[in-house]
């Protein structure tokens, strides 16, 4: 989009959108929100960045490989974390218990926070991938 106004305003707005997304992800266990909604907002910010920076050189390129790697690593992380919890819970092993934390603080939710972050990353890149693929047929 070759429009100076949009570009400049976008440059200003995008960080705020991203901060908002991160806030939603991090506060998922305290308030409405969580990885899915926050991830979507983050993904939208990436799309917006791509939209307004597309014609210019200054665009930060996200390679396909990076997208795949981020998504897969997050998924693996999610799987491992949750799998550990599943197995210790279901098999009733007396292994290291993950602390639950104190309700009300951001770094409280025990495993919930990293899980939310992982989900957020997955959703973010998924949304971004959808957009780019629908648009150009490449990431």
């Amino acid at each position: 989009m070759k429009d100076a106004l949009l570009r400049e305003i976008g440059k200003v707005v995008i960080p705020f959108i991203q901060i908002f997304g991160i806030y939603i992800i991090l506060n998922g266990h305290l308030s409405p929100g969580g990885g899915f909604s926050g991830g979507t907002i983050l993904g939208v910010s990436l799309i917006m960045h791509k939209l307004i920076e597309e014609p210019y050189k200054s665009r930060i390129k996200i390679s396909e490989r990076a997208v795949m790697q981020f998504t897969c690593v997050s998924l693996i992380l999610y799987g491992l974390l949750k799998g550990y919890s599943f197995i210790t819970g279901g098999g009733e092993f007396e292994l290291l218990d993950i602390p639950l934390g104190i309700p009300g603080r951001i770094l409280s939710g025990g495993m919930l926070l990293p899980l939310n972050v992982a989900v957020g990353i997955i959703v973010c890149f998924t949304i971004y991938t959808f957009y780019t693929l629908f648009d150009k047929g490449e990431i």
Binding site: S31, P32, F36, P103
Partner: protein
């Protein structure tokens, strides 16, 4: 019969479900089919959420004055529907991708024309 009127949320969602279902089943245009699919899914979400609603109660976020079991609505449908929404989004994305490809390959998105052209 009066239940249908008092449960108007659910009645509406069922009507939407029927409309979405039939759109998905009968319409020839792929995009409209996908819209129908989304109407159908959304109506189910509405139905679920309506099932979880209890009048005059709060969202299940437990802040300082804990109001006991009586204070909050049923959180289960909400949680389920979060999952449901994501699933619906994924299917929609995939369906749209296929539609794009169909348009590239066949030059149309009317299903009956595609089936005619398809042959083998």
């Amino acid at each position: 019969m009066e239940r249908l009127i008092t449960n108007y949320y659910e009645t509406a969602s069922i009507i939407l479900f029927g409309i979405g279902f039939m759109t998905l089943l009968i319409h020839n245009n792929l995009i409209k089919k996908i819209i129908g699919m989304n109407i159908m899914d959304t109506s189910i979400f509405l139905f679920f959420i309506a099932k979880g609603y209890i009048s005059a109660k709060e969202a299940p976020i437990i802040r300082a004055p804990y109001m006991g079991v009586e204070g909050y609505i049923n959180p289960v449908p909400t949680a389920l529907m979060l999952t449901g929404i994501v699933v619906a989004v994924s299917v929609t994305a995939f369906a749209l991708a296929l539609t794009i490809k169909i348009y590239e390959k066949y030059g149309t998105i009317e299903l009956n024309e595609i089936l005619e052209k398809g042959g083998d």
